[in-house]
Amino acid sequence: MEEISQKLINIVSIILKGAVFLSMGSIIIGVILLFVKNGGDGYSLQTLANYSNYSVAKSYSSSIFSPAKIPYGIITLDPIGFISLGLWVLIFTPVSVLFTSLVDYIYNKNKLYVVLTFMVLFNLFTAIFIIPSFVHL
């Protein structure tokens, strides 16, 4: 029976914990800034908080803020930049976990699981980088 590497387990556990802290910290800073600045990314707080009106909510949701805008958002202390960073850290957490286990499988020469992990990464990257160009409004 093949043992599951304890090192892998520890690293995965640390990544998961760290990502949650980083993400929550960033979201909380963003929310505080959102209320202090009374809005973000050039939109008023009233507009951003209007989630019950479908067309308003759709016009001022995630599609207006591509992840490429995050670094500029952070430098300019933009609330939406911080909230987006927090949410994208969440999305990328599983990717980093997969990379960690990939390293472990390569190290242990477990070819089958190297292939399987690549397949999962392929699906994830398709979802993150390729499909968006088709669904963007």
Binding site: M1, E2, I4, I9, V12, S13, I14, L16, K17, A19, V20, S23, M24, I27, I28, V31, L34, F35, G40, L45, Q46, L48, A49, Y51, S52, Y54, A57, K58, S61, S62, S63, I64, P67, I80, I83, S84, G86, L87, L90, I91, F92, T93, P94, V97, L98, S101, N110, L112, Y113, L116, M119, V120, N123, L124, T126, A127, I131, P132, V135, H136
Partner: protein, 335 residues
């Protein structure tokens, strides 16, 4: 604005998220299954954004709880990653279907489907925990080929449990649908993931639930990025629910360890079934199925939902009690 100022609004959504997180973790269904109905029924959030906020919040709760379980070595990362091939593919298909459905303005289908999925996931969730260690099955071709073995230390039984999984292919098929529902409805679909690993692959319950927890994050991340670009994630909502659900699920798991009287969970199952039935009715009303839009008013469907859910949970409770007493109250399988 339903609750006055944006600040009040934000805090009320955080509270809703905490509520969803607590009930989700106490029942084992996960925050998303509670969050979407709570946001749509009580907060007037369009279901598209409720699903978007729920999906991304699910990653936070999964990462939060999975870090504990992976450290203890109960969650089997290898089996999880192998099955993710199917769930991530399912999540992509699910998220694209979601976009198609909402662009055709067929939201009522989502309500209907959500209600049905929530109600049907109640039964396996209630059955869960009745038996912990499956009867050993003969390892098949896939057990060896896909290295489906593992072991963990069970704190309560004070022993090391060694296990071997079977029927990897069947697990993959079920996982595809788990991913599909996750991408389509913004839930972790933990119930279906458990079904895949427990029933199909014959893995011990503890390994199943913890591995499923670990997997939910990867599946939800796949769907979330598509939702992001298509514009279904509201910053305001998602920030509030991510914080709320994470806090709630933490509180829930602490409470779960402390409560000695497990019967109290039935109250939460009743709440869940109410939410499921109400979502179902919302779908029927919006889609004007059987021409019921005018006749089935909000108040009427609310009352029917309360009545039916109490009756249903009472029947399930009695049925489950009877099933357990036949086996002498042990945690053995009762069929």
């Amino acid at each position: 604005m339903l609750f006055g100022t944006p600040l009040n609004e934000f805090l009320v959504i955080v509270l809703g998220g905490i509520f969803a997180g607590v009930i989700g973790s106490l029942t084992g269904l996960g925050g998303g299954s509670v969050l979407v109905p709570v946001l749509t029924i009580f907060y007037g959030v369009p279901i598209d954004f409720a699903i978007g906020a729920s999906l991304i919040s699910t990653i936070a709760t999964s990462a939060g709880s999975a870090s504990t379980y992976t450290k203890k070595g109960i969650a089997n990362i290898k089996i999880g990653v192998g099955l993710e091939v199917a769930t991530t593919l399912g999540a992509v298909v699910g998220a694209l279907t979601f976009i198609l459905v909402t662009r055709q303005h067929l939201e009522w289908v989502l309500y209907l489907l959500f209600g049905l999925v929530l109600l049907s996931s109640l039964i396996p969730t209630i059955q869960r925990g009745k038996y912990e260690f499956p009867e050993a099955k003969m390892p098949d071709f896939t057990s060896r080929a896909f290295q489906l073995t593992g072991r963990y230390t069970d704190d309560r039984a004070k022993k090391t449990v060694t296990y071997t999984g079977v029927r990897w292919w069947l697990g993959e098929i079920i996982m595809f649908f788990a991913g599909l529902l996750s991408g389509l409805l913004g839930i972790g679909s933990g119930a279906l993931k458990v079904l895949g690993m427990d029933w199909a692959m014959n893995l011990p319950m503890k390994v199943t639930t913890t591995t499923s927890n670990f997997m939910i994050g990867i599946t939800a991340a796949t769907g979330s990025s598509i939702y992001w670009y298509a514009g279904y994630i509201s910053f305001f909502l998602a920030a509030a629910t991510a914080i709320g659900v994470l806090v709630g699920s933490r509180v829930g798991s602490h409470v779960l360890m402390k409560i000695s009287n497990k019967e109290i969970r039935w109250i939460f199952f009743a709440i869940l079934s109410f939410l499921g039935i109400d979502m179902l009715f919302k779908g029927i009303r919006q889609g004007n199925i059987f021409d019921l839009q005018k006749r089935l008013t909000g108040l009427l469907s609310f009352s029917i939902a309360v009545g039916v859910s109490i009756l249903m949970i009472l029947l399930l409770y009695l049925y489950t009690k009877r099933g357990v007493s036949y086996s002498g109250g042990n945690i053995t399988k009762t069929d």
